[in-house]
């Protein structure tokens, strides 16, 4: 694969990812265009976890022996790295969860059940992932809250002209995605947060797609909560992050109860531990935190600005190639306003069939509702096909995608 942008040495990067060397069928190399679902992992990340299990594995925080001390230090170093990566004031504001989904649920359970009551309004958007819908629906049902939605326009942007009127409801929470996993739309998070704050609301940013693909800075955004997953940013499964403002996190009751989140336990009562431990009950994802730390190192060394501009270049090329194919309709805004995600349909061919046939050519895309059913319903579609890109994606892979879509047409007699 001969790709170089003036910013990223993609050829070199691809050598870091063992799976990109794989053939998915005999003689058919992998073309991985499904990074929005989960990213691939560089050897640096895999090896960090391998090394942990082979060399330092121990339970953390409570042990005095060398393994326990090393594990604890490595785990907390990962927290420090993540804090720096997102521009948090303190690592104490970085809580390790399983994934974005658990991070958002933590806020809904702990902050939400403490602060929200009958009639309170929560503002979401029509482009949210189920992970940023269902936790609020569950809370709304339990507490009789009202959910309101910022609409999505035909071209896949948030209709922010509707936002001020929604803010007039004096919402307690405004929760939205910084980047859509279907449309690729990058939302103006900073402005949206400033307006929410003016209206007295707390904000939660679903950064599952932004943190892996753009430079992010929670303090610059002034986000109250900020949630993302390691597995989408070159890190392992089994670990995610919730960042929160200190006063908020301190004012919240614990979420899960158990070991490590306590300061003191008696038979019938307990005193919670300090941040961040208050929210990390039981043995955490230790190896996974270390893997996430390695992923942050990896991305930082490359530079998130370079990752972003590489993806900008790839998506622009992809839209160009896709839109030339008869019958292809790509959803979402123009390249300048989005990240590396292209969701599309091909005539009336079901996306499942598209994906299946592409797979025969080694091309991994996703077909379905991408955990955003309401958005698909809005566009009147049960499913779309989605190709998504990351720092290891090449123009040659885009070409293979386009060529194979012509093949799909042929098989369906078009």
């Amino acid at each position: 694969m001969e790709t170089r942008t003036n910013t990223l040495d993609v050829k070199k990067i691809r050598q870091d990812f063992p799976i990109l060397q794989r053939e998915v069928h005999p003689g058919v190399p992998l073309v991985y265009l499904d990074s929005t679902a989960t990213s691939q992992k560089p050897a640096q990340v895999i090896d960090a976890m391998d090394r942990y299990y082979r060399y330092t594995n121990a339970n953390i925080h409570r042990g005095i022996h060398v393994l326990a001390e090393e594990s604890t230090a490595d785990y907390e170093a990962a927290r420090q790295k993540v804090a720096q990566f997102i521009g948090a004031e303190s690592p104490r504001q970085v809580i390790f969860t399983r994934n974005t989904t658990e991070s958002i649920n933590l806020v809904a359970y702990s902050w939400g059940r403490r602060h929200l009551n009958k009639g309170d309004v929560i503002i979401l958007t029509e482009m949210e992932h189920h992970s940023n819908l269902v936790p609020w629906q569950m809370l709304a049902q339990e507490r009789e809250l009202r959910l309101e939605f910022i609409p999505v326009t035909e071209d896949g942007l948030l209709d922010l002209t509707a936002y001020p009127a929604l803010l007039d409801f004096k919402p307690r929470m405004v929760a939205f995605t910084q980047m859509s996993n279907v449309l690729g739309t990058i939302n103006p998070a900073k402005d949206m947060i400033a307006l929410a704050h003016q209206a007295g609301a707390i904000t939660l940013v679903d950064a599952a797609q932004s943190a892996p693909h753009l430079p992010v800075d929670v303090q610059d955004l002034d986000a109250d909560f900020f949630a993302f997953s390691a597995h989408k940013m070159c890190g392992p499964t089994g670990i995610g992050v919730l960042y929160g403002k200190k006063e908020l996190l301190e004012s919240m009751p614990p979420f899960l109860g158990g070991g490590d989140m306590i300061k003191r336990v008696q038979l019938r009562s307990f005193a919670p531990n300090e941040l961040p431990h208050k929210f990390e009950a039981g043995t955490p994802s230790i190896a996974e935190a270390i893997g996430l730390g390695a992923a942050v190192d990896y991305l930082t060394e490359i530079g998130m600005d370079k990752v972003e501009s590489h993806e900008k270049e790839i998506i622009a090329y992809a839209l160009e190639r896709l839109e030339e194919i008869p019958g292809v309709k790509v959803f979402g805004p123009e390249a300048a306003k989005k990240g590396g995600v292209a969701s599309f349909t091909l005539s009336s061919i079901h996306p499942h069939d598209v994906s299946q046939i592409l797979d025969r050519h080694g091309i991994a895309i996703r077909a379905g509702h991408h955990c955003a059913m309401p958005l698909h319903e809005k566009f009147g579609l049960p499913a779309t096909a989605r190709a998504s890109f990351y720092l290891y994606s090449t123009r040659e892979e885009v070409d293979k995608l386009a060529d194979s879509l012509y093949e799909v047409r042929k098989i369906f007699g078009m």
Binding site: H350, H352, Q356, I357, R360, A367, P382
Partner: protein, 131 residues
């Protein structure tokens, strides 16, 4: 030509024989595959001897789910309800002439799941029905 898209599948998908409805019908059920939005409705008329007299499906979805539904309708006409209950996952795969991964399996088996929920008179179609 792609193995998985054998002519019979593309053909049945593009030109289904049993798409439509059965009026009046004795059994009707519908459900969808939440993973991809495939939707299947099946209507069946059974005669006094418990034999399927007419069957039709409607819905939308991928070529595999729709072709499987069409082939399934063809299979059950003339069978007793007891025989219909015996139809298995493997019967469907044999009809299609395919090996499928777990996700596509759900597409292929959606119509059988819907049919069985209808035949058993259940309120809900669950995956157990086709395992």
């Amino acid at each position: 030509m792609d193995d998985l898209y054998r002519e019979i599948i593309i053909d049945r998908y593009k030109n289904p024989i049993y798409r439509g409805s059965v009026n009046p019908h004795d059994i009707a059920f519908e459900d969808d595959n939440p993973l991809c939005g495939d939707h299947i409705r099946i209507e069946v008329r059974v005669n006094e001897n418990g034999i399927v007299e007419q069957a039709a499906f409607d819905g939308h979805g991928c070529a595999i789910s729709q072709a499987a539904a069409d082939l399934l309708m063809e299979t059950i006409i003339g069978k007793t309800i007891e025989e219909v209950k015996q139809i298995t996952k493997d019967d469907i795969l044999d009809m299609l002439g395919l090996e499928l991964g777990p996700v596509r399996l759900k597409c292929a088996l959606l119509s059988l799941k819907v049919l069985k929920a209808g035949v058993y008179g259940l309120g809900e179609a669950t995956d157990d029905l086709v395992e």
